[in-house]
């Protein structure tokens, strides 16, 4: 049945070749080096740890039993809480920027987007390090705050949850702005004027016309911030203390400090469950429009 559907494009230079000729190389590469490793990590959490630091040959539930350690609920809750707050803050800051950029004059718009893209392309490690330079205990900022008497001698600007949150928002903010801007650029701002003419307040028009109009961009921004945030590792590692460790830090510790790969694999499986299953489900059930097929759909 479905085979008889005529192809949507009238002429393709590749028609004589099979679909597989184009698809095979990238598809198989991603199967072998992306899908297979993700599956393997789940299976390897069921292996015995080798004393040398690798994977043993015997199967065992040891790694999963070790997850019952009382530290893990604390870590998991902290990971979820910090990621959700950081995502909410990113969206709240990104929306006005996208709203403004979406209707700005072309010249201002391109300058604005350039200014946002540059930090996006800047080395992630350098951006986190920049905050360390700024916030370090002997740094200029803390000294200035001390001399104004705004903070106590005992107050540190680093190694606390606020700083981890601040740097998370800082690093993930461009990931929220860019998809929102892409959606706002296609939004018809005339609809807002129409809503105002019909008696809506500015805030009402924003919430009930603009937000639904860019809903796809909102979803993309949500995914682009929340999921990487759940996997944060470098930020708590460099600006947080032992009390700010997230799931990612534990994965790295089990891998590099304890050299217990099955335990690290079990933690990774947990993170996959928390971070990736919602996306996979969205892909399977909601069938999001592919960029190629996207033509002004508002659903």
């Amino acid at each position: 049945m479905s085979e008889s559907r005529p192809p949507p494009v009238t002429c393709r230079p590749w028609r004589s070749h099979s679909e597989w000729a184009l698809t095979a190389a990238p598809f198989l590469w991603l199967i072998v080096l992306f899908a297979a490793p993700t599956a393997v990590v789940v299976f390897m959490s069921l292996r015995e740890a080798a004393p040398s630091g690798g994977l043993g040959d015997a199967w065992s539930l040891r790694a999963w039993r070790d997850l019952a350690h009382p530290i893990y609920p604390v870590i998991l809750w902290r990971t979820l809480r910090l990621s959700l707050i950081a995502t909410a803050l990113c969206l709240a800051l990104a929306l006005p920027v996208a709203f403004l950029a979406g209707r700005a004059a072309p010249r201002l718009r391109s300058i604005l987007i350039l200014l946002i893209v540059v930090p996006f392309w800047t080395n992630f490690l350098i951006r986190v390090f920049a905050w360390r330079v700024l916030l370090q205990p002997e740094g200029m900022l803390r000294r200035a705050l001390l001399s104004f008497g705004w903070i106590e001698e005992s107050t540190l600007l680093m190694y606390n949850e606020w700083t981890v949150l601040l740097v998370m928002v800082y690093t993930y903010l461009p990931f929220a702005i860019l998809p929102l801007y892409a959606a706002a650029e296609r939004f018809d701002y005339g609809l807002l004027d129409a809503a105002r003419d019909l008696g809506a307040s500015a805030a009402g028009a924003f919430c009930r016309v603009f937000l639904p109009g860019i809903s796809r961009g909102l979803l993309a921004a949500l995914a682009m911030v929340l999921i990487p945030a759940l996997g944060s590792y470098v930020i708590p590692d460099l600006v947080g203390g032992p009390g700010q460790e997230m799931l990612g830090n534990k994965i790295a510790q089990r891998t590099f400090v304890d050299r217990n790969l099955p335990h690290a694999a079990a933690l990774a499986t947990l993170l996959i469950a928390v971070a990736m299953l919602p996306v996979a489900a969205a892909f399977l059930f909601a069938r999001p429009a592919r960029p190629a097929a996207e033509e002004g759909g508002t659903s």
């Binding site: 200014l115 946002i116 740094g139 971070a275």
Partner: protein
């Protein structure tokens, strides 16, 4: 303009927020103070120190990063372009799965990709090092190239293909003389993005590296962790920032100069 005040204010604050730490970093790279605690006058000593013999490791790491970046971006340009062409031209269950495979690596937390690849390589008995890093980098770069080329294909005027056929071009000739030249800016922009991502990657590389393969981000991380040579990291970061600016500007020019005339 109605309700223009609040968005403009937030945008201004966001820009200050985005550039404040970067500004301090650049400023401190010219600071004579060893610990960046206070301003002690202009100095180029940290840039000079980068070129001293004791920091030869940094340049060794840069060379390694560049080699991996070039290899990863070239291969991912080929694979990503094939992927985009397939996704654009066919609608099937295979392409649905293909698109999921291309999209997921972009949202997957880096640490998950790192630990999965590490466990995968270890269970296959691979020696960790240059080779495994390059394989990992190609894997996460493919998606970005594919999406960049796919965006370009969306603006592609399919009637050009009909025109080429009417003028007697065969499929191969059409691909080489019509499709490729029109897609080249998209492929190049995707490749440039892949190159930057590869040069910048820390987390995935950290997991799949082996003895001796210390890329530049791994080197910088080690220096930060051991609080060694901190002002030199300022200088190095400033140089890398300048490179990033140049890359963004250049890729923007490529895209703008070769953009299609809007027909829609």
């Amino acid at each position: 303009m109605k309700s223009g005040g609040l968005p403009a204010l937030v945008t201004g604050l966001v820009l200050v927020f985005l550039y404040l730490p970067i500004f301090f970093l650049v400023l401190n790279s010219f600071n004579a103070s060893r610990y960046s605690t206070a301003w002690e006058g202009w100095s180029f000593q940290w840039y000079a120190a980068l070129f001293q013999a004791r920091n030869r490791d940094v340049w060794e790491s840069l060379r390694l990063s560049l080699a991996i970046g070039i290899a990863a971006s070239l291969l991912s340009m080929v694979l990503g372009t094939l992927s985009a062409l397939a996704l654009h031209h066919y609608r099937s269950r295979l392409q649905q799965a293909h698109f999921t495979l291309v999209y997921l690596p972009i949202v997957m937390p880096e640490i998950l990709m790192g630990i999965s690849l590490l466990v995968f390589f270890v269970s296959l008995g691979f020696t960790l090092g240059l080779f495994t890093i390059t394989l990992a980098h190609i894997t996460f770069c493919i998606s970005y190239v594919a999406l960049a080329v796919l965006a370009r294909l969306q603006d592609f005027d399919d009637s050009l293909l009909d025109a080429a056929r009417d003028l007697g071009a065969g499929p191969w000739q059409t691909a080489r003389r019509v499709v490729f030249p029109l897609l080249a800016p998209g492929i190049l922009a995707g490749g440039l993005l892949a190159f930057t991502l590869s040069i910048d990657d820390f987390v995935i590389t950290f997991f799949v590296t082996g003895p001796g393969a210390t890329t530049l981000p791994l080197r910088i991380y080690g220096m930060i962790k051991h609080s060694k040579e901190l002002p030199i990291i300022n200088a190095l970061s400033t140089l890398l920032l300048t490179l990033t600016f140049a890359a963004v500007w250049w890729s923007g020019r490529i895209i703008r100069r070769h953009s299609f005339t809007p027909i829609r």
